[in-house]
Symmetry: C2
Subunit: 457 residues, 2 copies
């Protein structure tokens, strides 16, 4: 922990200098990032980081839950699990043992827009990791013997992560009510009744359709030179044939949102009620230039940390809440969400909390934000980004998730410049345009005290 | 009009006799209905009705808006329009002229579950009608020259029927919020942004996939004997080849509904606010035996006509509403909706009206309905069905829509018996089980008086 603090302080100094020097504004910070594409269409992004002799090797596939066929929800995530089931060369568990034996780590994750796998290993094991990923890109062997027990695993995951988690259930219901047409309305983990029917054929069909070098991006952060990484990639990934039927991602889009929506979820396990709202807003990929950055700044000023508008008004000044905040993720291939939430102070009802929250939002819409608030927000956001770069995995994830959602390496590198350019007018415009209740769903999570509550849950 | 009244009175007499004679309960009323299938898989239902020398000839395809590919909403209805665009034998408008020249009528309609076309013509023109429908079942010729202007027609239809109709807009939003996963959540007319992109290829692909003798049912009501109809059908429809790739309709199903949902739609054109609610309930096809009949009786007692619970409580006794009612359509291939609505008395707010409506519903859940109410409802429902049989087109539509949503000719004929069997316990159980707010979306339609209202609409 002390070490982390020293790093942060140093970073702030560097950052303060950068912020204070307008002439540097267009110059991206950090080490040069290499970005190139192999003959078979595989894109590689290499972020040199020589602080320790380790590399984080990630492969990102441009396929997520939003690309599933209707009725097959959960399939992208199911396949993520099945990718560990072995090939002719690497039977189940073999590679995980290799990674563990050198003190490495591995993991995988699935979102609406992508599926990614990664290993953090000693630098000299980079080629081994590449060989493994290249092998399972097309060599996966699936039998009912491995598929069916793994389906029980994802069902149990759904049980733990969603069915027994009232906040997750609330989020699932809000997404379903927010997206009327786009598959972002479906849970990434899947609807349980559809997960129960997923088959080996579903998994294989999805795998053959989407897993290919020209539908993937490898992100490597760590102790390796780009040219070395390229050579290793050509020797491994380079041998996998291009897939000739990869179609661009094209999902059904939303109609214009016109109804103010709300929902109430009662769950016997709720100890603290919650008010949570989501507005339909553009992502970086779907926004006009500057729009998503203004929304990022707005989310920060409105609801990030204890200095934010919502926290100060609702938790400190009144206080009607014990927690309040806002959030926005600009990384989505299609439209994104702007979130607002609050946990009421004991004795305060959710409608009261919602009214107070609306007052804070209405105030930003009517009067905008101050120049000082804006500068503080920019400084803090850019500082946070610098801190994140300190963590190899976080940095690789930042690049990966950006590229998977339609951004480029350059977009990532110039993000601080774009944040610096946001004006107070743009922040107010963003609030006015996007924080319109017609674009939103407000969810209440309450404790279910009905006699049937036990039975229902 | 007097004629109609005489018919109705006669029907009531017949019906009263039938109701009073338990031994006749299992005997379906009306003329025998013939039901047979040609060698190519086309099913025919013939309902003889010799009162006048006319026939109603309908062809029903087992494809509707719920069978559209995601992102192509409105396609089923678009194809319904395009079916009038001509074949090599019958250029655009030719058949319509023939029908008109003999004093006939024609029309077509599309729902979530089916697309149907019909002609009402002099009996001797039945074969002509069959020839025409058999011809356009596979012979449709579509060029961009006819497709693109017709797309403008359906866009204008969307404009008139939905975009400029606040009640229709409310219904669209309620459906979208009620169905979280099933395509019944999409409007049958389509989402405008998707309709604008529908192409000739989309239409042709849909046509080739779904239009085939073994995916259709011909319903003929009128002055024709079943054997004659069969012979004519074999000479016309019988020549169309069976389609070997017709798959059973399988749509994504709903997760269990868990959140109480509500929405508010503000529209500057609203003159009367409305409260409208929809509950997710079983259809005849998805229900256990007796369930959908109990829900039908419940809808009748709760909200059909001025003697209903809702009308009496909200419009007559209090009065908090100028109109109130309930509805249920048992004909859906997948799940169906139970609707409740009310128009508030001037000076009464929508939340007040909703609270009073909830009280009426809670009362039925807690105390059920009386034996006398039940008998009155059954008598009236069966009488209404008898009246409907008086209209050839209505009768043909009843059979057609039943068969398209998974019922059989026998199910239709025995419907009065099943209604007679409903008990007071079943009605109360239906209310308790299905009128649970967790299964529902409540929509408020209000007048938009904001300065931007003009701009938004």
């Amino acid at each position: 922990m002390p070490l982390k603090r020293i790093n942060s302080a140093a970073a702030i100094a560097v950052l303060a200098a950068a912020l204070a020097t307008p002439s540097l504004a267009a110059e991206p910070a950090g080490a040069p990032v290499a970005d190139f594409t192999l003959a078979n269409g595989l894109e590689l992004v290499v972020i040199p980081d020589h602080r320790a002799p380790v590399v984080t090797h990630m492969i990102w596939y441009k396929v997520g839950a939003a690309d599933e066929t209707a009725g097959k929800s959960g399939l992208a995530h199911f396949l993520e699990h099945l990718m560990f089931k072995g090939t002719a060369k690497n039977p189940t568990g073999h590679f995980s043992q290799v990674v563990a034996s050198v003190g490495g780590q591995e993991n995988a994750f699935t979102t609406n827009d992508y599926t990614a796998f990664y290993q953090r290993v000693p630098s000299e094991k980079l080629k081994t990791a590449m060989e493994f990923e290249a092998d399972r890109m097309t060599g996966l062997q699936l039998t009912d013997q491995v598929v069916l027990p793994e389906r029980d695993v994802i069902l149990e995951e759904q049980n733990q992560r969603v069915a027994n988690n009232p906040r997750a259930r609330l989020g699932e219901q809000i997404d379903a009510a927010l997206f009327l047409n786009h598959p972002y309305g479906k849970p990434v983990i899947g609807w349980r009744h559809e997960m129960e029917q997923l088959s080996r054929d579903d998994a294989i069909g999805f795998y053959r359709r989407f897993y290919a070098p020209n539908d993937a991006v490898v992100v490597i952060a760590g102790d390796v030179e780009p040219e070395t990484a390229r050579k290793l990639a050509e020797e491994t990934y380079g041998k996998v044939a291009r897939h000739n039927n990869i179609l661009p991602r094209q999902r059904p889009q939303e109609p214009p949102p016109v109804a103010v929506r709300s929902l109430t979820l009662a769950d016997p396990r709720v100890e603290q009620p919650v008010m949570q709202r989501a507005y339909l807003v553009p992502s970086f990929h779907t926004a006009k230039p500057g729009q998503s950055e203004a929304i990022e700044v707005l989310a920060h000023i409105l609801g990030s940390g204890s200095n934010s508008r919502l926290y100060r008004a609702l938790v400190v000044d009144k206080p009607v809440a014990v927690m309040a905040g806002a959030s926005y993720d600009s990384f989505a291939f299609d439209m994104s969400k702007f979130g607002v939430f609050g946990v009421p102070h004991p004795g305060v009802s959710l409608p009261q909390l919602e009214t107070e929250t609306d007052t804070v939002i209405a105030n930003v819409i009517a009067h905008g934000v101050s120049a000082e608030e804006l500068e503080r927000a920019k400084f803090r956001m850019i500082a946070d980004a610098v801190y994140a770069q300190d963590n190899q995995v976080s940095m690789a994830r930042w690049y990966g998730s950006a590229i998977m959602t339609g951004a480029t390496v350059n977009d990532v590198r110039h993000w601080p410049d774009r944040i610096r350019e946001v004006t107070v007018e743009q922040v107010q415009d963003a609030a006015r345009q996007w924080l319109d209740k017609q674009r939103s769903v407000t969810g209440y999570l309450i404790k279910d005290v009905s006699p049937q509550a036990e039975k229902k849950s």
